[in-house]
Symmetry: C2
Subunit: 101 residues, 2 copies
């Protein structure tokens, strides 16, 4: 029985790690609270805030854009203050939540 358990955990761990994307959508949900004011509770976006729809977007794209806005590679002075304090893991967790919207 023990060997089955360890096999399962190796499988789960490796599939998580292989995606290079160990993510925690629950943490992401808490982080997303800040984003609601512009992107909306369901990631529907907001014209007045020039905030795009996020729901349905790929997590790898969300990670890329938030990372680049944080670093300034992508200029977005409106959004940068909201993401500059996020760690790489925070951004992955955030993306994992956004994918569920």
């Amino acid at each position: 029985m023990k060997s089955v358990l360890s096999l399962v955990s190796v499988f789960v761990l490796s599939s998580l790690l292989s995606t290079g994307f160990a993510q925690d959508a629950a943490k992401g949900k808490a982080l997303y609270a800040t984003c609601i004011q512009c992107h909306g509770e369901n990631g529907e976006g907001n014209l007045a805030k020039k905030a795009p729809k996020l729901s349905g977007q790929h997590d790898w794209y969300v990670v890329k854009q938030v990372t680049e806005i944080k670093s300034g590679v992508r200029k977005n002075p409106d959004m940068q203050p909201y993401v500059k304090g996020l760690s790489d893991q925070d951004i992955k967790d955030l993306a994992a939540y956004i994918v569920t919207l």
Copy 2:
């Protein structure tokens, strides 16, 4: 009868112009042919090409991003060659088509 017709046409014209968005999705579809190689026939996006999902996105956001990528305000050396020849109207028509995906 004539006055009704002119009233209707004024309404249609003003609603088009008021959105500042006289768009032609049919023209947009022809323009989108170039985008398929990265964003996919249905705007589903493509990880290998780092191309985001477009379907479901707001047309005003598509216009903003394509315009900024064309001008270089938003750095995207991969995509800029594909959009630099587009006119403002082309971009609006393209967005009108993408919204239908």
